[in-house]
Subunit: 426 residues, 2 copies
């Protein structure tokens, strides 16, 4: 069994296969599992990369029947049942593709060059370095117009990522950097949330959407509804209709699409670049290939499943049970059903919205629920303790301990590749 | 007063000036103060960058009369008393240059491209990514010769950096990665320490040198005395005499020289690229310019002072007292004397050598002294606690929590510059 991707789906799959009489290989282009829901906290210098990333080998070494391969998938030979990777070829009997999603620039070249995505650890380090550097520039410049541009952060997209990012940037500057830069005029600072629709967090109940909007406004975030980004330039963001907003930082949280690994499987993709699968997460004509997680266009009762870690985890466990049964070691699982364990989003200190079954929570209670759930979810004990220390410090002292601007020194060797595949830069 | 460099010397200077009736500006190309003595632990994935780096602004904001400028020095106009930086011009009445030292490649181009220095945070992240990646490659390759090359680490230089690095690499692979890679043949792993002289740690007493050599040998590190590196290639290291040693990782700890900022001050540099200064740390003909720390070729009783953080700190305090006195707020300090507080070096778990006045310690007692001293020295409380947690975990569980291969995503903006100057890439 070969599993592509060490995200929530891939890790759930190999864990659920631990007692099956099978040889499992997990392939990923990074050597760590990333706790994606907190990525925006790395991007805003609240958490350190090592607090939300965990070495894959530290997970895999506890599983007797699983090995790890650091490499990027080049192609998938569905007829020969072979995976070609930058670290060699892997034949498979069963293939589970859990390659996840990537930021979708919607074909706008300015987004690729000038906006900041927030989908992998490199993105988050890049955004952190940029945010901290622009504030330094703002402190050094004598031009008030340029200072205002440097201190304007535009967030495109009013989904969970956009809302959480806007709230966190606001707090980084307003609560922490305000003390680091006592001479800086922070009235020039503004955060703008640009959303094409008429509300934020549309996956939540309308009452929670209204709470979220009020919480954003209380933080001083300017909301622009019904506004679509036409392009992003070095100077800022251009809205449809021609309006230009000067902003040194544009965070692109508009949407994601299935990873390119999907293109290797099926030339015909569904909406958002996802791969159509049947109720057992199999692709057409190849019952030995499963697709799960963000990359899978799975539907339950005709409705597409959301792109959530919980979906990927449940699909991974289901597929692992199917594979185990096919190996003659267990009975086949009942048809897949998605158990919605709830959704939540935080809008900074003391404010979050949570929707868990019939429960609706917001404000401080919502934030406490959010905090508790995320602490429990974090994968390793060490991570949990250190994250708790950092959050506690942030909460008590309004301080971010990790506001460093760091980058590797360039080197002729194979390291420091900025392409997300340290093993084989292209 | 303008101070260049936020290392041990520069920070000691601005702190000692805190009550003087002066306006102080601290300039550095990075936004953090780095605890250099533990840099090798970041390079070997034991500590996280944020554990040995601390935001300069978090230090400076406690000083009423000090501001910080993120920028790189372009030139120094000694006649006009003006510093030109990438973030603007700064006139000065007194200038303190504490720009430190950089890795010296001794004009060997192969060292620049293929060897790994260990002098700044970018170097350490680069080395960490490289070490972890080569072990992944070694696990994936089927060629035993290539595996042996990938698992060979050559350390050039038997000073403190070289010895500490060799010990830490040895432990990373032998104790930690051994568990992550259960199928990897670690008999192919070797660490080689190449030293031109006939001993290691020559600044220590001969008895401690012998203890250090024994500790290195017990860890399985191969010592090559009387061997000089002629060049470094992609394949490994070439010794003088023509011997070629295949090694995927060559760590260059042979020597350092004064930072290039020194070249802006004096075309004529002393040994190791240091700037000649008088007993008051002033340069010839410009009594308003002071040079301290690694960059200063200061002598006491005719002997040059070592390149140590303690020297820089004491010189910074002395220069600050001189400047305060010249500003009419205090009496001039007595002539500078260096108080040697001792030297120590660690050779991994349970082994270190320490020489503090008449005290000589080695083995486990030496290591306990080393640990205690470094915990106290670390600049911030938070750092101290987190570092202690990581060390404790490493010691108890033989585990390195931070073995992630990370790099920023490239971006058209001003961030992610790999040149050590995030503000203004060149």
């Amino acid at each position: 069994v070969v599993v592509i991707g060490a995200g929530f789906g891939g890790i759930a799959t190999v864990r659920a296969l631990r007692d099956a009489p099978l040889e499992v290989t997990l392939v990923d282009q990074n050597n760590y599992h990333l706790f994606q829901p907190l990525l925006y906290q790395v991007g805003t210098a609240l958490l350190d990369p090592s607090e939300i990333a965990y070495p894959v080998r530290a997970i895999v070494r506890r599983l007797r029947n699983c090995d790890f391969l650091l490499g990027r998938v080049i192609s998938i030979d569905l007829d020969q049942h072979t995976l070609h990777t930058t670290a060699g070829d892997l034949p498979y009997d069963r293939l589970v593709v859990a390659a996840g999603a990537v930021t979708d620039s919607f074909g706008k070249p300015g987004v690729l060059t000038h906006a900041f995505g927030l989908k992998n650890l490199g993105d988050a380090i890049t955004l952190r370095n940029h945010l901290l550097t622009t504030v330094e520039h703002a402190a050094a410049t004598k031009d008030p117009t340029e200072r205002r541009r440097l201190l304007t952060v535009a967030v495109a997209g009013g989904g969970a990522t956009g809302v959480e990012c806007a709230g966190a940037v606001c707090e980084l500057v307003g609560l922490v950097l305000r003390r680091d830069f006592p001479h800086l005029d922070l009235s020039a600072f503004s955060v703008l949330l640009i959303e094409a629709g008429s509300s934020v967090l549309t996956q939540f109940a309308p009452s929670l959407q209204r709470h979220a909007i009020r919480a954003l406004e209380r933080k001083g975030i300017k909301l622009r509804f019904g506004a679509k980004v036409d392009d992003v330039t070095e100077q800022g963001v251009v809205l449809q209709g021609g309006e230009h907003i000067p902003a040194a930082t544009v965070i692109w949280a508009v949407g994601v699409r299935g990873s390119d690994a999907g293109g290797l499987l099926a030339p015909q993709r569904a909406r958002l670049g996802r791969i159509p699968v049947d109720a057992g997460m199999r692709i057409p004509d190849h019952p030995e290939v499963f697709v799960i997680g963000d990359l899978a266009a799975a539907t339950v009762d005709g409705k597409p499943l959301p792109m959530l870690g919980a979906v990927a985890q449940q699909q991974g466990a289901h597929v692992a049970a199917t594979i185990t049964a096919e190996a003659g070691a267990g009975s086949p699982p009942p048809p897949f059903r998605y158990h919605d364990r709830g959704t939540m989003a935080t809008i900074g200190r003391n404010a979050a919205v949570a929707q868990i079954g019939p429960i609706r929570a917001w404000g401080f209670p919502g934030w406490v629920i959010w905090l508790a759930v995320h602490l429990v979810l974090l994968i390793s004990f060490r991570n949990r303790v250190v994250v708790l220390i950092n959050w506690a410090r942030d909460y008590l002292f309004y301080d971010r301990p990790v506001r460093l601007i760091t980058a590797p020194t360039p080197h002729a060797g194979d390291n420091g590749s900025p392409h997300g595949d340290p093993a084989h830069p292209d």
